[in-house]
Amino acid sequence: MTDTIDITLNGERRAVTRGVTLLQLLASLELDPRAVVVEHNRTIVRRPALSDVRVAPGDAVELVHFVGGG
């Protein structure tokens, strides 16, 4: 049993620690949970629930924020 799993993060395959929560994933990326919105397998995960949701192999995670736009 390896200690990493592959997920799709913002459209790209990425190895993350097995059993990691979304909140821990954000921390490993040095992202402030208040500054991003997390979508896990097409479902939005609210900030208080980020520490409850663990990623599984093959999961799709999207991390989005606001950028300049018209």
């Binding site: 040095e30 992202l31 500054a35 939005i44 924020h65 300049g68 018209g70």
Partner: protein, 265 residues
Amino acid sequence: MATAVETLRDTPFTIGGRTFHSRLMVGTGKYQDNETMVRAVEASGAEIVTVAVRRVDLDRTKRAGVLYHLDPKRYFLLANTAGCATAQDAVRYARLAREAGFNEFVKLEVIGDQETLLPDVQGLLEAASILVREGFKVLAYTNEDLVAALRLEDAGCAAVMPLASPIGSGLGLLNPYSVRTIKRRLQVPVVVDAGVGTASDACLTMEQGVDGILMNTALAAARDPVAMAHAMRLAVEAGRTAYLAGRMARREVAVPSSPLEGMLD
């Protein structure tokens, strides 16, 4: 300028139950740098600024999003669904935007043609119906088609945003009649979005009686975005004030401004 408008007792500019002082809304995209963007937004006097929802750049997470530069307490952030080509995508982006936690307003775009970026009216109506049911205040970017605008109002949109001309084209107000007709027939605010190129375009647009204008490229692509933002602020106020003042009738003949009496022999 503000005094003149007060004298004319302008009606408040209210969208979805919120009242704003500035009738000019500005986008935050395509600026050469964030500092110029911030200074242009300030110079425009806009309260409502639009932002887009995009993936965080995971290789450069230290490069913060637009909120690092714009204070959400100072500006009313209006998220858009720019780039979405289907109703489903637009709904997904709108939900993500609302989750960011600032407000329930969304500038709905569903693009039907990639060359002209003209809206897909069917997709707009479908997305608007879903989002209105979910409690969103929807500002729908649409073409200058009266029937489409009426349908969007029926679907519960908080504002309808007909284009002056295609996004980023700077061609100005191509169809004043259609925009005027939409304004005359709708109860909800009409905000012209896209196509304004310079101050005279903004002034002419406001003279049609619309409630406001949203622009981005006209500022971002100007040689001096900050100066253009200032010009646009004045133009929007001038156009609005001229509309309220009521223009003179057009005549096909000259009428002298100086008295005919008292002329020398």
